[in-house]
Structures are given as structure tokens and as C-alpha cells.
């Protein structure tokens, strides 16, 4: 058990932080939702009714989609774009999909290569794109969920304000949808850009996200 926790510390700790944050968000969101209902002359709703409501779902989904977009874009952009001096970037000479030798596929597979990397054909092509594909699909499905839950929550507000509800195409063209979307995207892009630049000049001893403390500012693709 101790060995398992040591070997999987990152996923275990972030899994627990995620669960704790979702539960905290549910309680805070419920209190806020009840306050808004009472202010409109309505009755309090139960905790269960809130966590199964579109209001809770849209708040969850709008953050998920932006996080998965962040990692999807980072995975894809770092194939073609580099940042000289950043440990987040690969070396400038390796821009692009790289050779079979670099990627350990084709004649260069090893005994320990994953089965779909060794098989060749469509399986290897698919496996070679699997991280970007899964991140992209998670982004699109979260964004779709945001649009559906967001429309439901927004239409409830519109009816409470005695205005007509919107259809889904109207909602995805609405200011509410794009305000929710872009306020999350801008923060993700800022965080990625900041990390790429700051990691050129700053160090965190022992972190693989940083270069070694003594490494030159011009050294790219090196972690310590």
C-alpha cells in the first residue's frame, strides 16, 4: 500500500484534491443557488436537487472543457511550436512529428514498446495520436455538455425574467455561452504562456517542470 501510494502519488493526490474541490463547490454552489431562489421569492431547494440541476452541471462543465482544451492544445501545439530555453518545449531541431528512430516505431521498436506501437498499420497510427485524440474528445464532449446545461440554466433565468427561452443554436450563439467559454479559455492560455516563458528564467529545484537550477537559460528540453 505504501509502495503503491509512493508510485502513484501524483494521481492519488490530485484525484483527492479534485473530489474535495467538487464537494466544496457543490456546498458553496448550493448555498448561492438557495440565496438566489429566495431573492426571487422562490423556495429553498434541496442539496440533491441542486447537484442534479443544470446550474451545477454548467459550472462543472465550463471548467472541464477549458482544462481539456488547455491540455489538448498544449499536446498538439508542442509538436510544431517550440520555446527556446523552456523545459516545456522540445529542442528546436525536433520540430514536427519526428523520425521513427526518435519515436521508437517501425524498425526502431523495442521489447518494452506498447503492443499497438509494435503492431504497425492503423493501430500504430491511432496509438501515435491517442493522447491528442482523447484530450480533444474530452474537450468537445465537455463543451457540448456545457452548451446543453448552460442553455437549460440560462432558459430558467429567462423564464424567471418573463422572457422567451432560446433554442440550442440560439444559445450557442449567445453572449452567455461565449462569456462563460472565453472567461475560462483566457485564463488557461495565460497560464500556459506564463509557464512557457517563466520556466526559461526561473527554477524549482527537483521539479521535472523546471530545468536544473544550474542549467543555462538557453538550454531547451531539459528537466531537473
Amino acid at each position: 500500500m505504501r509502495r503503491f501510494l509512493r508510485d502513484n502519488g501524483l494521481s492519488v493526490v490530485f484525484g483527492l484534491l479534485f473530489l474535495g474541490s467538487v464537494v466544496g463547490q457543490a456546498f458553496a454552489g448550493h448555498a448561492d443557488y438557495v440565496n438566489r431562489q429566495l431573492a426571487r421569492g422562490g423556495d429553498p431547494v434541496s442539496f440533491w436537487a441542486y447537484v442534479t440541476s443544470s446550474d451545477f452541471a454548467v459550472d462543472i462543465a465550463e471548467n472541464w472543457q477549458s482544462e481539456y482544451l488547455q491540455f489538448f492544445l498544449y499536446v498538439m501545439a508542442t509538436v510544431w511550436l517550440v520555446q527556446r530555453g523552456s523545459p516545456e518545449s522540445k529542442q528546436l531541431r525536433r520540430i514536427g512529428r519526428e523520425s521513427d528512430a526518435d519515436q521508437l516505431v517501425g524498425r526502431h521498436v523495442t521489447e518494452s514498446s506498447p503492443r499497438w506501437a509494435r503492431t504497425g498499420g492503423w493501430r500504430t497510427v491511432l496509438f501515435s495520436r491517442s493522447l491528442g485524440l482523447v484530450m480533444g474528445l474530452l474537450f468537445l464532449s465537455s463543451w457540448l455538455a456545457q452548451s446543453i446545461a448552460g442553455m437549460s440554466a440560462f432558459n430558467a433565468e429567462r423564464l424567471a425574467d418573463f422572457t422567451d427561452p432560446l433554442t440550442w443554436p440560439q444559445y450557442v450563439a449567445s453572449a452567455d455561452f461565449w462569456n462563460r467559454t472565453l472567461q475560462n479559455w483566457q485564463s488557461e492560455f495565460l497560464a500556459i504562456g506564463s509557464m512557457a516563458i517563466l520556466s526559461v528564467y526561473l527554477r524549482e529545484r527537483g521539479s521535472p517542470e523546471s530545468k536544473p537550477v544550474g542549467a543555462s537559460h538557453t538550454v531547451t528540453d531539459e528537466s531537473g
Binding site: 423556495d43 440541476s53 443544470s54 462543465a61 457540448l144 455538455a145 437549460s152 424567471a160 418573463f162 422567451d164
Partner: protein, 123 residues
């Protein structure tokens, strides 16, 4: 996740639409009665109280003078705890309270981008 959201929305929506329409139907039917006490009972408490304050009379005495139309329902839309029921003549708005669906606006007319203008309740 998107599909799940659609299924949840659809399944919850159908039952809520039936419940909201039943209250709207009862309200519209009660408007035709000589004694509209049953219609007053289906108004949200705040709406009934505002009507009585504005008219200086009981809801049952004030409601008939508004000459609300009691025409058949043509469509029902429910989102969360809010509903909009369109009739041949105008529109009724409802909110779901702990005690059930109640009328928050009746005799409402479309004002384009601005909120509906209602004879009873409304914005």
C-alpha cells in the same frame, strides 16, 4: 457526458411539462367560473398579495375585472423550476414552489426583446 445531459433534461422535462400544464389548465378553467377563488389559489402568493394591494379588494373580487382570456393551451416549455404556457390568446408563466406549480404571470403579451407585459403578476 453531453448525451447524458440531453437524456436527463428530456426525461425530467416531460413530467414537469405535464404538471405545469395541469396547473395552467386548472387556472384557465377556473377563470371561467363565477367565483374565481380556485384561480386565486393557483396564483403565487406574492402575485396574489400584489393584486390585492393594487386593487384594494380581495383576489376573487379583483381577478374577474381583468378579463383574462381562458383559451386552450398551445404549447408548454419548462426549464428548471420555471415554465411558460402559451394559449391561443396570450401566455402564462409559472414557478415550481415546494407546494407545486403556481402562476407568476397571467395574461402576458410578448414585447419582443423586453420582458412580457402581464395583466397579473409578471416582471
Amino acid at each position: 457526458m453531453g448525451v447524458l445531459a440531453v437524456l436527463l433534461t428530456a426525461s425530467c422535462g416531460a413530467a414537469a411539462e405535464r404538471a405545469a400544464q395541469a396547473v395552467a389548465d386548472d387556472f384557465l378553467h377556473a377563470l371561467g367560473n363565477p367565483d374565481p377563488t380556485a384561480a386565486c389559489a393557483l396564483l403565487a402568493e406574492q402575485v396574489r398579495s400584489d393584486l390585492e394591494s393594487a386593487s384594494g379588494r380581495s383576489c376573487a373580487a379583483a381577478l374577474p375585472e381583468l378579463h383574462l382570456s381562458a383559451t386552450p393551451v398551445v404549447s408548454v416549455r419548462v426549464w428548471g423550476t420555471e415554465a411558460q404556457v402559451r394559449t391561443k390568446a396570450d401566455t402564462v408563466f409559472l414557478h415550481e414552489f415546494a407546494s407545486g406549480w403556481r402562476i407568476t404571470g397571467a395574461g402576458c403579451h410578448d414585447q419582443g426583446e423586453r420582458p412580457y407585459d402581464c395583466e397579473v403578476g409578471g416582471p
